[in-house]
């Protein structure tokens, strides 16, 4: 029995790594910019399909072989999703965000919520049209192999994803902390008015940050793509998971979001010890509701946002 617990824990950690990266992407948008993006799960879905088509579907990266291919595919999924996000922000989302629009925060959020829901529907169903409803996944021999440590099995594809996810997070962190552009992004999110006073083009920063946020989640999607099968509607499944992770980690904290996602992954896998597997996401919802009711500031949140 104990071995089952450890196995679930191991699986949870592995899955949680990529969830963490996924949540980091959302945290840039929701946690830092306070933009509500209901379509975030569908951007992840786009990342998954981008990786799929690059590696398996069109075989563009086939020359890299079955081990390096999926990794590069996941990495390239980032810029693809970044571009889509950038365009969507430029033409649609910018019209409901930013200092010029919002007279009261609640009103701004209303439009953001509805607009991104519309985008979510279009992306998911558009995906259905373009990609079909058959579940696919990125083929790599790693997904069928496992390393054994003691009696615990570590699925190789998931382990690779688990290693890469924190690496990406670290890269992002360094980008935001050290580079001028990264600091400008943070300033624009922290205080858009002051940012304008020091000469930062806040609109462009928000646009870049949005693209970055969805791009990161796209990379996470690319990583997950080789560990499980997916179909265009998978985004909706993940929206609550992502928000749960970000809220648990604490709004405004990007590293916190990573931990939040990791914990959510563990909760999900360990819930299968006591719940039937179909209800694993229900366990996440319960965690989400508990956090939002009792500790809206999460673990590392900077402002106690009264939900």
């Amino acid at each position: 029995m104990l071995i089952d617990v450890f196995q679930a824990l191991a699986a949870g950690l592995l899955v949680g790594g990529t969830y963490g990266l996924m949540c980091v992407g959302l945290s840039i948008i929701f946690g830092v910019m306070r933009v509500v993006n209901f379509a975030h799960g569908d951007f992840m879905m786009l990342g998954m399909y981008a990786a799929y088509y690059l590696v398996t579907g069109f075989g563009v990266l086939a020359f890299l072989g079955p081990y390096a291919g999926p990794i590069v595919g996941a990495a390239l999924a980032g810029p693809v999703v970044f571009a889509v996000g950038w365009l969507l922000h430029r033409f649609l989302i910018a019209r409901v965000t930013g200092a010029r629009v919002v007279t009261a925060e609640a009103e701004g959020h209303y439009a953001q919520i509805i607009l991104t829901l519309g985008i979510a529907l279009v992306l998911a169903n558009g995906g259905l049209i373009l990609f079909g409803s058959q579940p696919v996944s990125v083929q790599t021999p790693l997904s069928r192999q496992s390393w054994e440590v003691g009696e615990i099995l570590f699925n190789q594809a998931r382990t690779v994803a688990f290693v890469l996810a924190p690496l990406c997070t670290l890269l992002l962190y360094v980008f935001l902390a050290r580079t001028t552009l990264g600091k400008a992004l943070r300033a624009a999110a922290d205080n858009p008015i002051s940012a304008a006073y020091v000469g930062i083009d806040v609109d462009r920063c928000h646009r870049f940050a949005f693209g970055l946020g969805v791009g990161i989640t796209g990379v996470a999607g690319g990583l997950i793509a080789s560990t499980q099968s997916f179909q265009p509607y998978i985004g909706f499944d993940f929206v609550i998971v992502m928000y749960a992770g970000v809220v648990l980690g604490g709004l405004g904290s990007i590293l916190g979001a990573f931990w939040g996602g990791l914990i959510i992954g563990v909760v999900q896998q360990m819930s299968t010890l006591v719940l039937p597997y179909q209800l694993q996401n229900t366990a996440i919802f319960v965690v989400f509701l508990l956090v939002v009711f009792f500790r809206p500031s999460g673990m590392f949140g900077r402002a106690a946002e009264r939900a």
Partner: protein, 597 residues
Amino acid sequence: MGSRSATAQYLGIALFSGAYLLLGFLVTNSYYQLIMTLVLLWATMGLAWNMLSGYSGLISFGHAVFFGLGGYTMTIVFVKFGLTPWLGIPLGVIIGVFAGIVIGFATFRLRGHYFALAMLAYPLAMLYVFEWLGYQEVTLPMMREQPAMYAQFSDQRVYMVLALALTVGSMLVSLAVERSRFGMSLLAIKQNEAAAEAAGIDALSWKMRAMVLSAAMAAAAGGLYAIVLLIVTPQSMFGMLVSAQALVVALFGGVGTLWGPVIGSVILVPLAETLHAELGNIVPGIQGVVYGLAIIIIILLAPEGIYWRIRDRLVARRAGEWAQPVERAPTGEAPSTSARPRPPRGVIAQPLLALNGVSRAFGGLKATDDVTLGVVEGAIHGIIGPNGAGKTTLFNVVNGFLKPHAGAISFAGSSLVGLKPHAVCRLGIGRTFQVVRAFPRMTVLENVIVGAYAAAATDPQAERNAYAALERVGLADAQAHALAGALTTQQLRLMELARALAARPRLLLLDETLAGLGHDELADMLAIIRRINQEGVTIVIIEHTMHAMMKLAESFSVLDHGRLIAEGPPAEVVKNPAVIEAYLGKRWMDRAQDPLA
């Protein structure tokens, strides 16, 4: 809203039903008949969504939870216990109502996007639960004998009539809500919950009622939907698309009106269904794409929906004639209204409003620091102080928006501490806010009626009180029926004042009512405030326009950094060194005292 007569609305509904039935008889293709039925069902779902989210502004993405519970209840009792849907659907409604109460209590403490996210979670959770329970796909058995007893009909049009009955019923309920204080209260909550509370509206109570009605309608729609399609799956009952459709038809057609979901459904559902039928094989997600695009287009171009867009165009032409400049308030005899007798001058009366050692801090900052003051009945008392002195915080503490960390507040002998703002209002304290939030599409009268509910038991009484309040501030009949969106700032301030007066308060808290007004407008406003005071209303006013205050208030309390630094008649207070220092700085005083400077 209420400016259209009830008769017109009933007539509209009757016409709609008649036309629909007629069309239903003419259409012989059973597939088109099915679409007509579905249009009505989604219109009902839209009305259900509207009842909660449209009227009150709390966006729900989770109405599928009620829809699914209604549908599955009916299905399960039918399949397992053979209970007829005629009973199963009402049972589903009861379950839906119960779910509404539970969800309401749990989720109403959340705001904005957290509310929306939580609502999103509920149906998804239900979906997983039902999949786990094994209800992947449940087909309702065909009852060969006595199909009518089990609500199964070979002629699709019977379903259409049932659906029409449900839709019309929902429309009538929505109409009743819109025209009553229920609807007005929800609208007030939507526009500015704080102001609504201060006007005496118990927000939580009204929201719960809206949630319950909304859940009932959605559950009924779900039950009927299941009977029409004869097959239920977790995805089709609890899925994202269900919640989305409820939202889209209402949003597209018009939020906050009973006609919106109907218009939206009539336009969008046939469109989506036809596309799905024609192209569904080639482009399987076409329905979702259509709905998604509809949402995006409408939120960017006509955020409140088609109905309002059209109505705005039509009404704007008429309303322009009505909004006239405010007539100068007659400075003559005050009309006899509910004048309370003023205490004779010279008698030191118990203060009507008494604050004792009241303190309130935010983090480490003491916004209100040990304030003790008393306002005698019938007085006009000014609260002044430099920027950031804590004046509005003081009002918020008296009003109930903030709890004092220390001290006592009493009004006419009873303690105010711990009371919610609407309860404070009902005790007789009215309040205006710095930023006036009017309901632009409602008339001035409707805006004011919202404030009247706290003191009027019936709706007609509320209307009378509202009229009386408008007269007291000098907004004549001509303005009463003008749309609030067309008013000037001064007129808006007067309307805000009327809204506070409509509850017949004993004490009025005025927050910077005079700010930014020009010379003539200021004179008008001062005259009106004095008149209201002579009619018996005690006034406490925050201002920093000193010239005006000097002419208006009989006594001042001066705050600086949250503390009371001076109190007394204006002429004295203004010479008080502490006050001068607070406004002009310490160095001014130093220089003033040093004749050699």
